[in-house]
Amino acid sequence: MRLLIVEDEPKTGSYLRKGLIESGFMTDLAATGTDGLHQALERDYELVVLDVMLPELDGWSVLRQLRASKDTPVLLLTARDGVSDRVKGLELGADDYLVKPFDFSELVARIKTILRRGKARNAEMVQLADLEIDVFKRKVTRGGQRIDLTAQEFALLHLLAKRAGDVLSRTMIASQVWDMNFDSDTNVVDVAIRRLRSKVDDPFEKKLVHTMRGMGYVLEERP
C-alpha cells in the first residue's frame, strides 16, 4: 500500500504524510506538480492524493497527463468547491474530490473507500468482539443478549460496524445515516451516539463505541 501526496504547502504536506503513515499507509510526498507527475508515472502507487492549486503545473494538468497513460486512482484536494470545479475534476477522471478544510478522518475514510472499491464488503453478518449484527434480519445481539434498536440506531451501528476501526466524522455520519449532505452545527450526531451507547455499551463491561475528540467516533475493540 503506497500512496503519493502532491501538495505544495510544506506544512500541510508533511502533516498529511505523517498522518497517513500513522494510519498504515506507506506514503511519498511531492511538492510540485512536475515532481508529482514524474513520481506517479515512475512508480506504481495505489492512490495519489493531489492538490489542485499547485504552482507551475497545476493539479488539473497533472491529472490529465497521468490519465493519458495510467489508471492510478486520484483523490483531488482543493480549496475551491464550485460545482464546475467538481464536475471538471470528475470529468478528468478523478476518483473523489475533497474540499479544504476537511477532517483528516474524512480523508482516511475516502482513501479507504477508493482502495476498497470493487471489493464488495456487504457482509450479511458483522461481528466485533461479542457484538453481532445480522444485517438482513436487522437483529443485534451482544454476548447472546438481544438489543432492540430503532431504525436510525441500527443504521448508525451498522455504519460504524462496517467501518470498524475507522474514525467517522460527524458530517460523514449525518450524510450516511440521514442523507444530510451539509455541515450542520447541531449536536444531533452526538445525541444519537449517546443513545446508541446507552443500549449497546452501557449495560456491558467492554466499551466498543469510542469518542475521538475533535475527530468523530469509532467502533473498535480496545484492550
Partner: protein, 467 residues
C-alpha cells in the same frame, strides 16, 4: 447612422432643428415663389388683353391699310417697346401692314378671334415660354385685318430668378440662425443633465449619501434623477448591509480565534502533562471546525447571492422528507423533552433535495433550540392551489414583534445581551431565505408572543428558466 446615434444630444437636436427649419422655409419659399409666378403670369395676360383692346381702337381709327403701312405710329411703338413684346398686323391674305419686332419664333397659326368678340383670358395661346393672342380687327374703312400680339417671359424669368436667389439666401441664413439658437436652447436645457453627471462623478462607496435635488429640474430629467436617486438608495442599503455583514463576520471570527490563541499560549507557557496537550488539541479542532462551518456558510450565501448555485429540482414527497428530518432530530428532541409532529399527507414539493433538507434542518434546529421542555415542534406540509408550503411551528415564548422583520438578516442578534457570548442567530435563517430565493419561493415568520412561532416556506409550482 451609428455615429449619429452616439453624437451628443445637443448636436443632434440642433441638426434636427436646422433640418426642420430648412424644410419649412423651403416649402414656404416654394409657395411664395409659385404665387408670385402665377401672379406675374396673370398680370402679363391681362396686359396682353389690354394691349389688344388698345390696338383694336388704334386700328379702327386708322383710315385704311395703305395709310397704316405708310405712317409711323409712336403710341404703338411705345406700347410694344419692351423686349419680348411683338405686334403684327396683317391683311387676311398675309400682307404685313405693321410689325414692331421680328418674333423669335413664329406666332401660333390658330384661328383668330372674331372682330366683334372681346378677347378673354381663355383666348390666349402658349407661345414658347410666353403667350400669344390672335384676333381680328377692323380698319377705319371697314377692311378686316389679323392682329397677332405675343409676349415673351424672359423679363419675368429674370425677375423670378432674382427673387429665388434672394429667397435661397434668406432661407440659408434662417436655417443657420435656427440651428444656432436651437443649439443654445438645448445646451441650456441640458444643463440639468450635466448636474446629474457631476453628481454621479462625485459618488463613491464612501459617499453614497449624496442625492440629486429633483424639485427644480425639468420633468424629463426629474424622472431620470428620481430613478438615479432610487438606484443610489438601493446601492447604499446594499453596501451598508454588505459592510455590516463583513463587520459581523469579522466579529464572529474573533471569538474562535481568540479562544485558539489564548488556550495555545496558556498551554505553551509551561510544561504540561500529555493529557493536557491532548485536550488542548481536541479543543483546537473543535474551534477549527466552527471556523470551517462559518466559512462554508458564508460562501454558501455569497454563491446564492450571485446565483452561482446550481439547483437540481426534483418532485419530493413532503412526508418522506419530513420523516427523514424527524428521524434526524428524534434523539435531540426527545432529550430536550420536545414532541416532533408531522402532518404532510400527499403533498409534493418541487425542490432541490439537498437544499430543501438544509432549509428545513435549519428551521427545525432553530425551533428545537427555542422550544421549552414539554413543547411541540410541528412540521406541516400543505398543497395550496399552486406550489407547496412547508411550515415549521414551535410552541414557546415566540419572537418579539420588533425583531420579526430582522430575523432573516445575517448575524442579526435578537438579544443583544447574548452577543457577548457569541450567540448570534448566525446564518441559519439567512441560509433558509437564500435557499427559498433560489427556488423562486419565499419564507416568512410570524409569532404570537408567549404562544408559538411559525415559519412558512412557500415553494412555487414551477421555476422559469431552471431545470
Amino acid at each position: 447612422m451609428k455615429q449619429l446615434a452616439s453624437c451628443s444630444i445637443t448636436l443632434r437636436l440642433s441638426l434636427v432643428f436646422a433640418v426642420v427649419a430648412a424644410l419649412t422655409f423651403a416649402s414656404v419659399g416654394a409657395y411664395l415663389y409659385g404665387t408670385l409666378d402665377r401672379h406675374l403670369a396673370h398680370h402679363d395676360d391681362q396686359e396682353i388683353l389690354a394691349r389688344a383692346r388698345t390696338v383694336r381702337q388704334f386700328l379702327a381709327a386708322a383710315p385704311n391699310a395703305e395709310l397704316l403701312l405708310g405712317t409711323p405710329h409712336p403710341t404703338i411703338d411705345a406700347l410694344f417697346s419692351s423686349t419680348g413684346c411683338v405686334l403684327r398686323v396683317a391683311t387676311p391674305d398675309g400682307r404685313v401692314l405693321l410689325q414692331t419686332a421680328t418674333p423669335s419664333h413664329p406666332l401660333p397659326a390658330v384661328r383668330p378671334l372674331a372682330a366683334d368678340m372681346a378677347p378673354q383670358l381663355d383666348d390666349l395661346n402658349a407661345w414658347g415660354a410666353g403667350r400669344a393672342l390672335r384676333l381680328m380687327a377692323t380698319l377705319g374703312d371697314g377692311a378686316p385685318v389679323v392682329v397677332g400680339i405675343a409676349r415673351e417671359r424672359s423679363d419675368r424669368a429674370a425677375m423670378l430668378g432674382h427673387y429665388a436667389r434672394n429667397l435661397v439666401a434668406a432661407l440659408a441664413a434662417g436655417v443657420l440662425l435656427v440651428g444656432w439658437l436651437g443649439y443654445l436652447a438645448v445646451r441650456h436645457a441640458m444643463g440639468s443633465l450635466r448636474d446629474v453627471i457631476g453628481k454621479a462623478n462625485d459618488i463613491s462607496t464612501f459617499r453614497l449619501n449624496s442625492r440629486l435635488a429633483t424639485e427644480r429640474m425639468p420633468s424629463e430629467v426629474r424622472e431620470l434623477s428620481t430613478a438615479f436617486n432610487g438606484m443610489l438608495d438601493r446601492l447604499e442599503e446594499g453596501v451598508q448591509r454588505l459592510s455590516g455583514f463583513a463587520a459581523d463576520l469579522a466579529h464572529d471570527l474573533r471569538t474562535p480565534i481568540n479562544t485558539l490563541m489564548v488556550q495555545a499560549q496558556v498551554a505553551i507557557s509551561q510544561p504540561r502533562q500529555d493529557e493536557d496537550y491532548h485536550a488542548l488539541l481536541a479543543s483546537c479542532i473543535e474551534e477549527y471546525q466552527r471556523l470551517a462551518r462559518m466559512i462554508e456558510n458564508t460562501l454558501f450565501l455569497a454563491r446564492a447571492d450571485n446565483a452561482q448555485l446550481a439547483v437540481h429540482l426534483e418532485m419530493l414527497d413532503a412526508e418522506t422528507e419530513l420523516e427523514r428530518i424527524r428521524s434526524y432530530f428524534e434523539g435531540v428532541a426527545e432529550e430536550a423533552g420536545i414532541m416532533l409532529d408531522i402532518e404532510a399527507r400527499n403533498v409534493h414539493v418541487l425542490a432541490d433535495p439537498i437544499l430543501f433538507r438544509r432549509a428545513v434542518n435549519n428551521l427545525v434546529s432553530n425551533a428545537i433550540r427555542h422550544t421549552p421542555r414539554g413543547g411541540v415542534v410541528r412540521l406541516l406540509a400543505e398543497q395550496p392551489a399552486e406550489g407547496a408550503e412547508v411550515v415549521v411551528e414551535n410552541t414557546g415564548p415566540g419572537i418579539a414583534r420588533e425583531h420579526l422583520p430582522h430575523i432573516f438578516d445575517r448575524y442579526y442578534r435578537a438579544d443583544p445581551a447574548r452577543s457577548a457570548a457569541g450567540h448570534s442567530l448566525g446564518l441559519g435563517l439567512s441560509i433558509v431565505q437564500a435557499i427559498m430565493k433560489l427556488h423562486s419561493g419565499e419564507v416568512n415568520a410570524d409569532s404570537l408572543p408567549g404562544l408559538r412561532t411559525r415559519f412558512r416556506m412557500r415553494f412555487s409550482a414551477w421555476q422559469p428558466g431552471r431545470t
